[in-house]
Amino acid sequence: MKNQKWLVPTFYIVFLMLPIYWLLNMSFKTTNEILGTFSMFPLEFTLDNYKKIFTDPTWYNGYLNSITYVVINTLISVTVALPAAYAFSRYRFLGDKHLFFWLLTNRMAPPAVFALPFFQLYSAFELFDTHIAVALAHCLFNIPLAVWILEGFMSGVPKELDETAYLDGYSFWRFFVRIFVPTIAAGIGVAAFFCFMYSWVELLLAKTLTSVAAKPIAATMTRTASTAGYELGLLAAAGTLTIIPGAVVIYFVRNYIAKGFALGRV
């Protein structure tokens, strides 16, 4: 057993990476090869799947739609959460602790619960099948999360910093934008990351609230699987591309997330 310390982690990493590798592997195969033979790497290497996604608007629009509502959602969530988290971290008011906890309980309900009311509401306001509809729906989950994360970071900043700024002559908003926001930049990064990730992977609400114009990529993928036979290669390529934005965002905020874990809020 002495020299086999590497065994368990290696096994674990292979176990984790295998599905991702298989997805990548399939994305370079033709559908026939996927269905026909079992191979650890593409026998007939092809980029056709990717070509199709980048040229066919029904495909690439899925990505554009997803990115649009995810970015809108992240912007709204963080912008709204910033002053809310500030209030929770700096002021004591009647029922503040209950309100703070209640915000968090919003995340305990499964999104499916809200699918019907949201569908009805947004249809009534003619917001159905718009990016803003999905972005707003995701706010229900993301704003509480962002408030929770940001409050942790803000409470780590001493109140004296605010007071010093006032003593220096800063007005509240000038202090908030010029000094406070840069001070908790790491927290904003972490909050934005979690909003982005949630909104990016959430399928049910996004699918319910859109039909054509704002259809997310994940919905496009399910359609392909059912109507045009099994275009498995295409599907694998789409899946691979779906992983990329998350990986990119994680790369940029990885240090901040470590900090967030240290503060016990992520």
């Binding site: 001493p158 910093l161 007071e163 010093t164 006032y166």
Partner: protein, 355 residues
């Protein structure tokens, strides 16, 4: 600038943080607020700065009522115990920030920041972020920011408490000099009596939300008006005991007695509380008017060139502080020389009688 508190009080819920207080600070001088933690020093400062609104009373600056004026418009600078700087700004930007807000011309900002940085030996650090500085440098940056805007009122809330010994000594020497030429009224909170003595100026002793005495530091130290002030302004704590004045003799139980001096001759006979500072009850040195009392050693502690002993004297727990290193065994009986002309006498209400 003249600062005056008129019947200022502060209540939070049912808790009284500051009882109605009147105080006129020494304008343009060094004012020390001396008291233990939670005595109300910080609250008093926050009331002066306008960071907190008083529950009652008024704050006056230079004969003007500023009670309702927001902190931004009061032109006050404050330095905290924790090193507070803007983490995302460089040292230069930190020091320059009050001037930028006041829309001072760019060239002037550069000269003024340069001058202050030179004074506080921060010139090589101007491009660094506060996180890249040592504690002493961080606090000097905070001080520089307080100095640069030439605020007429500067509040220093235990600014040296978080620094290590050497740095504290160094900065403490510099502080009065730094503010001397600015003409600013400085308020300095501390919990250490020694620090108040070293800083000089005027001292207000604070105890449980009240200012017990205010005056020139040396005078408050030498003649505390009340036992409470004497207790606040003594480290180690002042020794107390009950003495009985019988005609022309003060009788300290069975331990000692000494003649009543002329000064106290007019006092009626009866019970008084005696207060004597630890360094006036020593194991060494015969004083002309010294009285010998016996005590049993409870704890002995030798620090450098001083011996501090806790002794039991006629049922009172006293502290004696003497020069030189003297070995003691716990349980020993020691002879202490008490300089009776240094004794302070307080009546039953804790007020100083004559002096």
């Amino acid at each position: 600038m003249g600062i005056e508190l008129k019947q200022v009080s502060k209540r939070v819920g049912a808790e009284i943080h500051i009882h109605p207080t009147d105080l006129v600070l020494d304008a343009g001088g060094f004012n020390v607020l001396l008291g233990t933690t939670l005595a109300g020093k910080t609250t008093l400062m926050r009331l002066m700065a306008g960071l907190e609104a008083p529950s009652g009373g008024e704050v006056w600056f230079d004969g003007k009522n500023v009670t309702g004026i927001p902190v931004q418009k009061r032109s006050v600078a404050m330095v905290y115990q924790a090193f507070i700087n803007y983490p995302s700004f460089t040292v230069f930007d930190n020091i320059a920030s009050p001037l930028r807000v006041a829309r001072v011309a760019r060239g002037e900002i550069r000269t003024r920041v340069g001058k202050i940085a030179e004074l506080l030996r921060l010139t090589p650090m101007l491009d660094r972020l506060p996180a890249e500085l040592s504690g002493g440098q961080q606090q000097r940056t905070a001080l520089a920011r307080a100095l640069v805007k030439n605020a007429p009122l500067v509040l220093l809330d235990e600014p040296l408490a978080n620094l290590d010994y050497k740095l504290r000594e160094e900065l403490r020497d510099e502080l009065p000099k730094l503010f001397q030429d600015t003409g600013a009224t400085v308020v300095y909170a501390t919990s250490e009596p020694l620090e108040a003595l070293m800083l000089g100026g005027h001292t207000a002793t604070v105890h449980e939300g009240r200012i017990t005495q205010y005056g020139a530091t040396a005078q408050v130290y030498r003649t505390p008006n009340t036992l409470l002030t004497a207790r606040v302004f003594s480290d180690p704590p002042i020794n107390t005991a009950t003495v009985d004045k019988q005609g022309d003799t003060f009788v300290f139980g069975d331990a000692a007695h000494w003649p009543v001096t002329e000064k106290y001759a007019v006092l009626p006979n009866g019970i008084y509380t005696l207060g004597i500072r630890p360094h006036h009850v020593t194991v060494t040195g015969e004083h002309a008017d010294g009285v010998v009392v016996r005590g049993i050693v409870q704890i002995a502690e030798i620090s450098g060139s001083e011996s501090i002993v806790r002794v039991e004297v006629a049922g009172n727990s006293w502290v004696s502080r003497s020069h030189g290193v003297h070995p003691f065994e716990v349980g020993d009986t020691v002879e202490l020389h008490m300089q009776v002309q240094r004794c302070l006498y307080f009546d039953s209400g804790g007020e100083l009688v004559a002096s």
